[in-house]
Symmetry: C2
Subunit: 165 residues, 2 copies
């Protein structure tokens, strides 16, 4: 991908994110706060293969969507962080979630977060992006945590599902 196919914004976004795994990786870093290779490898619903994950992480770092730093607690351990361009994908991911929720056979547990973000609107997205800037870029912490709110809602649905079976 040295040359671009065209200068169209939709096309250029597609050239970077238009495959079946890149946004899955970003989603897991963003919503699951998975920062290490093994976390991304093992804990994902979709089961990405290690060579694909390796290739994706490399490409996303090269494209400037992720940054890689070393974990002081373990000399071999790498931490992947979102960059500002990746954080700016929040509205796009919300729209993807909203569309999937409306037209695809989503599961209840895995769509509650998409629902909350859709209903929360741009104000909530901004709050979430501020929180991501805190977590990944060292910006000051916002007053309240959207991530915790989403996580709590997810746990609530999982508990409900478990209770009803």
């Amino acid at each position: 991908m040295d040359q671009h196919r065209s200068g169209c914004p939709i096309n250029l976004t597609l050239e970077i994110l238009g495959d079946r795994w890149s946004l899955i990786v970003i989603r897991d870093v963003m919503f699951g706060n998975r920062r290490h290779f093994r976390e991304l490898l093992g804990d994902s619903e979709e089961g990405i293969a290690s060579n694909i994950l390796s290739a994706r992480l490399k490409r996303l770092v090269a494209e400037g969507l992720l940054s890689k730093s070393s974990d002081p607690s373990h000399s071999q351990k790498s931490i992947y962080s979102l960059t500002e361009p990746a954080i700016a994908l929040v509205p796009l991911l919300v729209q993807m979630g909203a569309w999937g929720r409306r037209y695809m056979p989503v599961s209840k547990e895995l769509s509650i977060r998409a629902q909350l973000l859709e209903e929360g609107g741009p104000a909530m997205w901004q709050g979430f992006m501020d929180e991501l800037r805190h977590i990944h870029l060292g910006a000051p912490a916002p007053d309240k945590s959207v991530l915790e709110e989403l996580q709590a809602a997810y746990q609530r649905v999982v508990a409900e599902e478990a209770a009803s079976t």
Copy 2:
């Protein structure tokens, strides 16, 4: 793609649209009003190959994002139309355009429409979607045409560019 990887809305959207061509085809039908195979094949900036276009059209029809009908003026001619799920992709495409415009090396002519849609906000998107429902689904025509507005702005920028060289 018989079985889904997970019930996550983002993943499911990715399973259908996560490749380098599907959204290009939908973009051309939506914004360029290209309804025939040859129009989609030849007039695209990116130059899709005919076998890929053929495969994508088949898949998009099978997935319910496009519908195919025959043109009464030419027994062999097929017309592809957007379905409601495809029209519902407008906010997603707008976000893709907005992100690409901010972080990728877009060209001036090809990003003016993305800019107008981004600045126009949800009200403009709804107007555009109503117009698409008119064009593709036979719904009543809305008062004003967003498509014409976008096209006029595009022509204006092309003329400016031509004048300055």
